[in-house]
Symmetry: C2
């Protein structure tokens, strides 16, 4: 059943059917009502696909993220979806994983699906291959990135100033009397490098030395956090505090330290990252750097719809994290 069937049954042309379906006013009340009743009688659902073909817009956007199971990404994705939905868009969700080729593949598929735009969430998407994939497959429609930044005319970004978060964390730790601060890093991205730089500088600002041993690399996750804590203990590295890469990993460390009889925050202070529910759930509750996932999600969605509607927007925006003080420092 299509628009022709409705037209025939209503005794009008397809033009008229199209007009009433789209709420145009230039249709006589009589014909409008007739069409409306036929539409209702048949539970008619018009083809968005056909419509998209002629209108050159699908009212669908793609969202790429490493893994929606991470609370942080789930929060952002949720907010984006809700905000886009409010504005009449649907969202195709893509969990890219960590492999670059997979991400590029998703970008190509989204281009073929003719999404109106994309939102890429996470600094891990900031690689040359992704840059090329966008340039090649998505050369003109808007793409909005979180914590990534490509110098491409159609690419916009919002970046959380995570290195400012590092400074916040260090200052707080030092103020509370800690001096041997370990930095935990997950992905090898420019954001991670930034954090490391800021970490070194932050220590220097307090006259504290840094050693290579006090920067440790992990994969995100509760058990990985436990492992990281073990490694720290086994290696005999001198430390009295930790800046975690995110909340779950930080909790993993908290629990492992506790299992070894260390008291939090007395023996070791721990700062998480993200301010997810995990930080409340932890014992003790985690003091965290909050990079405001909900705000970020909303901003990303608004940025994209603004561009889509031809509004003038800044190519780059920064958001600043805040410290939320709870019980782990």
């Amino acid at each position: 059943m299509n628009i022709y069937d409705i037209a025939r049954e209503s005794g009008v042309s397809i033009s008229t059917v199209s007009r009433v379906m789209n709420g145009h006013t230039n249709v006589s009340a009589e014909k409008r009502n007739k069409v409306l009743s036929v539409l209702a009688k048949n539970n008619y659902v018009s083809s968005g696909i056909a419509k998209s073909l002629v209108l050159r817009s699908t009212n669908t956007v793609g969202i790429l993220t490493v893994d929606i199971r991470h609370l942080h990404y789930a929060n952002i994705a949720y907010t984006i979806e809700q905000e886009m939905s409010l504005r009449g868009y649907n969202v195709i969700l893509c969990n890219t994983g960590e492999h670059d080729e997979e991400k590029a593949k998703y970008i190509k598929v989204l281009a073929e699906k003719q999404v109106d735009g994309m939102i890429l969430v996470g600094s891990i998407l900031s690689t040359p291959l992704i840059h090329d994939a966008i340039k090649r497959y998505f050369p003109s429609k808007p793409v909005v990135m979180f914590n990534s930044n490509f110098k491409l005319p159609n690419v916009y970004d919002i970046c959380s100033n995570e290195s400012a978060g590092i400074k916040l964390a260090i200052d707080h730790l030092v103020e509370r009397g800690y001096s041997k601060i370990v930095l935990v890093i997950d992905y090898r991205t420019w954001v991670a490098e930034d954090k490391i730089e800021r970490y070194k500088r932050g220590l220097a600002e307090h006259g504290l030395p840094w050693s290579k041993d006090s920067i440790i690399r992990v994969s995100s996750g509760f058990e990985n956090g436990q492992n990281a804590a073990q490694v720290l203990l086994q290696r005999g590295i001198a430390f009295d505090s930790i800046i975690g890469c995110d909340d779950v990993t930080a909790i993993g460390m908290v629990k492992e330290f506790a299992a070894h009889g260390l008291r939090i925050p007395d023996d070791v202070g721990i700062i998480g990252f993200n301010n997810s529910v995990f930080s409340q759930v932890s014992t003790p509750p985690l003091t965290v750097v909050d990079n405001k996932s909900s705000t970020v999600g909303t901003s990303l969605a608004r940025l994209l719809t603004d561009v889509l509607q031809g509004r003038d927007v800044p190519h780059s925006t920064s958001v600043y994290p805040e410290l939320v003080i709870r019980g782990s420092v």
Copy 2:
């Protein structure tokens, strides 16, 4: 740029271009190579929309869930997305919230977008209004439901036998010496009713009485769990153990009890539901009913693709939860 442009530049017809784009073999090597090079030179991305229009398939499915920020739903949605992606489908994610009208609206939109099928996750989607929305807007394409069950020819379901989980929990609790068991329920769905019935019966099986006071209703969430624990304490209800509605809420209760000086599991035993990371993160780690979200996600996706490919599948499937024993009982 479209298939006509490619055809012209390649000196062939659009039929031939279409054939090489789709990997058909009945094209001479010479023309194929020519077309291929023109395609590559232009970074050509063909229109999936146009293709969908003629093929009557979008290779896209919708997934409805209350709120992707719930770890349990995030897990299921993630698994579905990955599994569908493997099979060449993309996923439109819809966070419906708890309002029925909103859910129905999403269903209509998905119908217009011509998704090939839908997966509805959660017993909260099992309402008359959703039933009608499917019947009206989605009368013939496959829909797969988790923990819901409509007697419609195109609707399939996988249900977690959560009442079996209740029995598991009660038996375990009784075995450990608890006898005043409180049941925590969130949504008012048929699954919740089932759990309540099984709870009463389970108590009876052990010669235990039940009182209305020992069934409490909450909204899911960490803070709601804390509140629930407070209420329990304030009301002076006699209890020595809790069967939670999910992990986060259970942890909220754990922490609130602890704050009141109650020891877990000595003073009160607590069983969570879902086996999410929260149950590991908790202090003490949560003994939980595991209803296997990953398995469920995979099964849902396979069920849908099986139907899509015309395979013969059962309309209803049950999965049974298991008990994971950790430290809270």
